[in-house]
Amino acid sequence: MNGFAWLRRLQRRSNTWMVISVIGALVALLPSLYILIGLFQKPNENWQHIQQFMLKDYALQSLWLVLGTGTLTVMIGVTLAWLVAAYEFPLRRLFSWAFVLPLAIPPYIAAYTYGSMLSYTGSVQVFMRNVLGWAPDQKYFDIMSMKGAIFVFTMFLFPYVYLITRSFFEKQSASFIENARLLGKNPLHIFFRVVLPLSQPAIMGGVSLVAFEVLNDFGVTKHFGIQSFTTAIFTTWFGMYDVDSAIRLAAWLMSVIIGVFLIERLLRKRKKYNASTSRTSPLSRRRLRGLPAWAACGFGAVIVSLSFLIPVLQLIVWAAWTYRDVLNAKFAELLVNTLSVSALSIVALMLHAVIAANVNRTGRSLFTLVLSKLISMGYSVPGAVLSIGVLAVFISFDEQLSGVYGWLGLGEGKLVLSMSLAMLIFAYVIRFLAVGYNAVEAGFEKTGNRYTEASRLLGFGMTRTFFKVDLPLIKGAVLTGCILTFMEIVKELPLTLLLRPFNFDTLATKAYQYASDEQIHQASVPSLFIIGVGMVSVFFYHWLGEKNSQ
């Protein structure tokens, strides 16, 4: 009798939603598969050379970047999270969201801003020479180095650690901390013996996001001249025109990422365990007085200045010098390009996210588990790796479709898809699907399954239920997903740089192009637009969090 159980299961599960999400998942998987297959292909001569002389250096440089940034973001992010969550001090409320603002500034913009500010002709040294009459040694200003890159990454990525850890402190640690306080432990002891060990999964969750961002980066390392894995992929691809070796490098990097990804998942599992066992009463804050209060406030002020105020003010000054030259018809075209490619990508992405999330919540099975893992995987594949995979897939599409193109009168052997905007949109969807998906999933979790079940018992199938009941209830979550992905797409650099059609510029690629042409001052205008979009998203996100907690 059990032999027919699969038939019954199919009757219950098979529907258009499932089919679409299966196809979507498979298509999204193609580029990564293409890359991983590269590991098993026979290497060419060039690879011998790369392996012998370069691979170890690439790997080491990337490793130092990740380790250095990881350690510092944990130190700063966790300290700030603890201060904001457990103490009351001057300007605390302002800081609690100001610490998120650095996320609005893409690290590559910060890199050329700081790089230029600290150069011999930059504002810092000019001020010292002309106003203070002091000409210090150049070696103190060498930000275009490994240390400088770690500084930039730390200052603009620590909010990931800060955000996740703070919400853990605020929501889940209260009973443990209060118990420790009642048991007479001093604050330092509580922090190191109770808070840190407890929040380890949250911290690891945040720091793995930081690691993914560092490995994804192209702009900072390129501008500072650091040979990381990602810049090596670019060099091999565009410098040596050796796509096979570039794919092989990408495959190596991807294996490492999968490793990091699996570790992060394991740690997340523990986090879930923590959440379900502790009471969720908020932590009551202790008021700091005197010197400690001002020290906390001062520390916050230094961080906000370095990670937001100083670079933004500098960009505003530069923009004031150059906006007349930059803001012209060409710039309007940049805006239109950025908005249109974002809008198209967001529509495709959110459709996919909503379908996958709806399938995932209705029937939990091994398939839906794999589906959700695949979706969150896209975010951890570095842009350079993903873009090679996407390009390879699209070129092979074009080869397959060559006959069709001929029949349509476009000419045999033409590259149609791989020269079009579709390729970039496809890559955005894969990379940022997790962002939209998580927002939609949170919306579904908040509304629960009750209304959907009621609707189905009243005679509506999955699709009509979705439009009549689910969608009206989760539209806020869908809007959140749109805004967050919009911010990600507007500031995205490596994918856009590699996969855009010929002569198609966005705000991000233009800012990068100005910066790499040593026109740093001109770069400030598109950069400020990108930061503006980021700030709107950060404010919106913060507002939403406040609204939810009320």
Binding site: N2, R8, R456, L458, L473
Partner: protein, 224 residues
């Protein structure tokens, strides 16, 4: 003749987890009202979710009015079973008004018939004056009546009620129980009421079934 029959139904949530139901059987005649009594966690709510098709049993068979809803090789989706359910927390759509909630399941009727049926239901639960209110603007008792009207409006073959009184004040309960009994009788509705409160079942049902956690045997008893 048996109108509703479930035989040898077993169920557990995930592979390897505790069995919630083991070879459970239950039969109802047309127009009969049965109360299922048991402590929380014994699988009462799961029973209703299995009957309505929100969950899929591991083994067993469920037949409603001569149509097999689920057996080893067949599974009918919940929207095609013609089963009405009143949820413990009512599950009224928060974005729809009272009349939109009640008319929700009437999509198969013509516009004219739909309006007529809606009017009937509003009258039945005495909520004509509240038709344009949203669920959060109603009292608990009113919400519960909307939930009943919504479940009964499409004339289901079988009505399932999951602890429908648990959110009501004690002084409201008595009144609503007797109203409900009359309502079910008038509609000749076959129904299953799940509750932990024996008084609820005594007041409404023709027969009571006791359920115990992990128990394969169900005791039956005729109430007065």
């Amino acid at each position: 003749m048996t109108f509703f029959e479930m035989s040898d139904v077993s169920f557990h949530y995930d592979k390897g987890s505790r069995t919630v139901l083991r070879r459970f059987s239950l039969g109802l005649d047309k127009g009969e009202s049965v109360g299922v009594l048991g402590q929380s966690g014994c699988g009462k709510s799961t029973l209703l979710r299995l009957i309505s098709g929100l969950e899929e049993p591991v083994t067993g068979r469920i037949v409603i009015d001569g149509t097999t809803m689920v057996d080893a090789r067949k599974f009918v989706n919940p929207e095609l079973r013609g089963v009405g359910m009143v949820f413990q927390d009512y599950g009224l759509f928060p974005h729809l008004t009272v009349e939109q909630n009640i008319a929700f399941g009437l999509h198969r009727l013509s516009k004219k018939n739909r309006a007529a049926r809606l009017g009937e239901m509003l009258e039945l639960v005495k909520l004509q004056d509240y038709r344009r209110r949203y669920p959060h603007e109603l009292s608990g008792g009113q919400q519960q009546r909307v939930a009943f009207a919504r479940a009964l409006a499409p004339e289901p073959a079988l009505l399932l009620m999951d602890e429908p009184f648990s959110n009501l004040d004690a002084n409201l309960r008595g009144e609503i129980r007797s109203e409900l009994r009359q309502l079910l009788r008038a509609a000749e509705m076959t129904s299953i009421l799940v509750t932990h409160d024996k008084e609820d079942a005594d007041a409404i049902c023709d027969r009571i079934v006791y359920m115990q956690a992990n128990d394969e045997i169900s005791q039956e008893r005729n109430s007065s």
